[in-house]
Amino acid sequence: MSRLAGSRAWASFAWIAPLNGRILFGGGLVLLIVFIAAAAPLLATHDPLRVQMSMRLMPPSADNWLGTDNNGRDIYSRIVHGARVSVVVGMAVVILTTVIGTFIGLVSGYFRRLDGPLMRFMDALMSFPSILLAIAIVAALGASIQNVVIALTVSFIPHTARVVRGKVLSVREETFVESARAIGLGDWLIIKRYILPNVMAPLMVQATFILALAIIAEAGLSYIGAGTPPPQPSWGNILSDGRAYLHNAWWMTTFPGLFIMISVLGLNIMGDGLRDKLDPRMEAGR
């Protein structure tokens, strides 16, 4: 009895065993960044907004681990707090994109009548280079974290919708869907129990890559001034501040860039691993 219970308990962790090294390594990096974002107030050594003109452009030191910026603010603390923006924006974009994109993809893949109009609309959105579209949306709505999320969500939705729709189109042709129909299940039940679970794999991979893209895009938008508005630190606007001090304060550009790269690298590695694990045939979702 106890042996049985034990094996049951282990069974629920069985998914860990086949996780490959890449998922663990990439996931570890991502978790690290998420941890930094969550524990930012604890990890930060300074108030990220604290201006101290006398301390401007100080190189890395024991007090300011990663140096200070042109307003004498502590780069390390700003980066640590900036992680929050990246994580929050990234997560929000991923969740919204996935929820909305999945809904659109499911509906248009499953109910063929809606397919035409919905996909034309997605095609139209996809015809804009996503960064330009995001810039235009942020410009239209004003630069704020919330609007960055909206802009990126709008520009990424079609990608998720397409992936989901493609998968739905193939899943709905599988005989197990027909077997569900033979039992008498209705469309929404079939979508819920048959289509959705089978779309999850590519969706998770896609979500990982979207998260990576969203982090880069947020930084890019902030970099050109169409993203997170100051004084709120974000990796992009720290980099943007640093642009003017490229030659005399390398630490202003190097460190935030490194953080972006590490988190995106983590996501990409994890996404690659997930893709190989879940859906070896899927193409890069970009």
């Binding site: 069974a11 197990f176 077997s179 033979a182 039992i183 008498g184 299940l185 679970p197 089978n198």
Partner: protein, 344 residues
Amino acid sequence: MAEPQELVRVTGLKKHFPLTSGVFRRTVGAVRAVEDVTLSIRKGETLALVGESGCGKSTTGRLLLRLIEASAGELMFDGQDIRTLDRRALRTLRRDMQIIFQDPFSSLNPRMRVCELIAEPLKFHQLARGRAEVEAEVDHLMNIVGLAPSHRDKFPHQFSGGQRQRIGIARALAVRPRFIVCDEPISALDVSIQAQVINLLAQLQQDFGLTYLFISHDLSVVRYVSDRVAVMYLGRIVELADTAALFEEPRHPYTAALLSSIPVPDPSLERKDRVILTGDVPSPSNPPSGCPFHPRCVHAQAICRQEVPALRTVARGSGRPGQVACHLAEDLDLQGIPTTEASA
């Protein structure tokens, strides 16, 4: 002996899938997957539907279950016209008729455990209430199809083809149907496993009084399982007869050719006068005029090119009944497969 009752009767069943093409995706034609099929299935019997790939067997099976809508024709199940049923009635009908699929690899939702797969129809149709009752019923069904109870919590990919097919059968049986369409249930399996599944199906038929429409492209399998056989060619039934009659005395040149093409696992058997058909099966989107088989038929006459032969009752030497759709049925001397005593 009383005339066996009909469970299913279809008349003039048609299914055309539209073909689109061109700039505006206009409908330019149709795949005539099923073209004027009339047949009936008696309670408790196994009717086999054979034919080469693409001839419309699966489509017919699906039409019978109303998994797809027919383009034309009448569909009676147990005396009830099921083409007019609304959603709710159709749902109840699903309890009476089920289907087993060919591909045991794609016919089970890979994200569901065996117990969920089997319990789903039970719960959906409220055939078992409460957790305990459902579990008991699932165990019972697994037992019936010969799956060990220890497999309850496994996923389909952890099973071999034959075991998966058993899961599919259990799922179909769960609603306690009267009629099951078996759509090539064994053709994806290894020989040694095929026999297991065939025997299981036969056992179940006996135990539960099931009626089967057994779809297959393999006439040698059909000989073991069916009471009557319908041979399809390009969406039409070309011959329908009792199994033994059909094998021994084919009346349609296509049936004869089919029989003659099948390799027999017996090297001692000398087969003379093998009919090897020339050419391929024509496309159902562009069927030939007249008798669909005439381009490949060595006996074809002028009339065959012009008129579609009707399925009609034709007498056989042995007096056994059967229907054939061939203009020349009476005039042809076709070779069947005489039943030899088994050497093994």
